[in-house]
């Protein structure tokens, strides 16, 4: 059984938990429920970019299935782009509710925008290498460089500069400052959104595999 199909069961449950079951936060009230969507999509975008980077390393190291790997890395970067845009939108709404403005040039907000720009640049590079037979390797190198800049953007810069952003799960005390019900909902949501990413990513890879087969048989799609 495809484990990612569990998303069809988990997603309605998580939506119910996030909107009804979990208690509202003390100061923000019901507005805090956006937490259960913002954190998971931000997490999934980072996972997707890591998967893209790991596929790129495998593409460069291994001789087998290079074309498939190229598409797997590309598809994960595209999926990551969608999730990072969702993280920015939900983050902006949350910022408006808690800080009074959609955009505050907070280090964490800025880091995520830079990360998004890096992957937009990757898509530009990928499309401009259309006629290059070495497209897979060159774009894989860019994805690896993008992956190694990610820790600087996600973990180092937001800790160097003072930030309005609440502590993430990985904070200095290594503790989660949430009530039990909120914590359960947040983790359920993270798992569900990861499954959603896995489901979408698998579909994208299957489409790419079909395209490769069609190309090999000289079909035009």
């Amino acid at each position: 059984m495809n484990i990612y199909r569990l998303v069809f069961i988990f997603m309605p449950v998580v939506i119910y938990m996030a909107l009804i079951w979990a208690p509202p936060a003390a100061i923000l009230g019901d507005a805090s429920r956006i937490l259960y969507f913002h954190v998971p999509v931000a997490w999934v975008s980072i996972v997707a970019f890591l998967v893209a980077g790991i596929n790129s390393i495998i593409l460069l190291v291994s001789e087998k299935n290079r074309r498939e790997r190229e598409f797997m890395a590309h598809n994960s970067a595209v999926a990551g782009m969608v999730f990072i845009i969702l993280a920015l939108i939900t983050g902006s709404i949350w910022a408006k509710l808690s800080w009074g403005s959609y955009w505050n040039w907070d280090p964490r907000e800025t880091s995520i925008v830079i990360l998004m720009l890096i992957y937009i640049a990757y898509l530009s590079l990928y499309s401009s290498l259309k006629d290059n037979p070495n497209r897979g390797s060159i774009s894989a190198v860019y994805l690896i460089i993008a992956m190694i800049t990610m820790p600087f953007l996600v973990f180092i810069i937001p800790r160097i500069y003072p930030s309005l952003h609440p502590d993430t799960i990985i904070n200095q005390e290594r503790k989660i400052h949430l009530e039990a019900a909120m914590r359960i909902t947040l983790f359920a949501s993270i798992v569900t959104f990861t499954l959603l990413y896995g489901y979408i990513y698998r579909l994208m890879n299957r489409i790419s595999a079909l395209e490769i087969k069609a190309e090999e048989k000289h079909y035009d799609i």
């Binding site: 530009s124 070495n134 390797s137 860019y142 800049t149």
Partner: protein, 220 residues
């Protein structure tokens, strides 16, 4: 290996000095941009933050105008294949990296004093200021060398180089601008930790680039 790198480096400098157009354009661009910005400010007294931003915008665009040239030239003059025959990709990468570091150090050495002179800026912590500019420039050169190699293989090279370089360089610019502003203003004590961040960033980028350059340079 060292002699091969030095030979490649000497060849690049010889070619660039014989056909001076690219070098002239890079230095002229840097000089003209600095003078234009200073002229536009018209002697206005700017805050240390604005001075730092302007200085790094000039340094960034001066780098954009010249740092991808070293690889694009090999592709345009169809000499990339011959270079591959007589040198390993690692040697080629290191010689091009050294060329870009030297070129960008010269451009920065032109832009920075000109900017300080025309804008009448005197940094409070001179050594801190010089270390920041040097560490930032090293980081910019290390990023642009590997990205220049990628762009040389793509279409619409000129605009693509800026598009793919800028996002990767923002962390470097971000930290460099903050440190430059601090060194000009002199309020906070020098932050050695952030200069180490810039050096660590350059070190990571150079190490990874050294390992993966062969995949860009040779067709698989």
């Amino acid at each position: 290996m060292q002699s091969r790198i030095i030979k490649n480096l000497r060849k690049d400098f010889l070619i660039e000095f014989r056909n001076r157009s690219a070098l002239n354009i890079s230095f002229a661009f840097a000089g003209i941009t600095t003078l234009s910005v200073s002229l536009a400010c018209g002697g206005a007294s700017l805050s240390s933050q604005v001075n730092a931003v302007l200085l790094w915008v000039i340094i960034f665009f001066s780098g954009m105008s010249g740092l991808s040239h070293i690889f694009i030239r090999e592709e345009e003059e169809k000499t990339a294949l011959f270079l591959s025959l007589c040198s390993d990709p690692e040697n080629i990468y290191l010689s091009k990296l050294l060329f870009n570091i030297i070129l960008f150090a010269c451009i920065t050495a032109l832009v920075t004093p000109l900017y300080l002179f025309f804008m009448q800026v005197v940094p409070v912590y001179i050594l801190y200021f010089i270390s920041t500019v040097a560490a930032g420039s090293l980081a910019v050169s290390s990023i642009t060398t590997i990205l220049g190699a990628m762009v040389a293989k793509a279409e619409s090279r000129g605009s693509l180089f800026t598009v793919i370089s800028f996002p990767v360089m923002i962390p470097v610019l971000w930290i460099s601008i903050k440190l430059t502003a601090d060194s000009i203003e002199g309020g906070a004590p020098p932050e050695v930790r952030s200069i180490l961040f810039l050096l660590a960033f350059s070190g990571v980028i150079i190490s990874v680039s050294y390992l993966v350059f062969k995949f860009i340079w040779t067709e698989n």
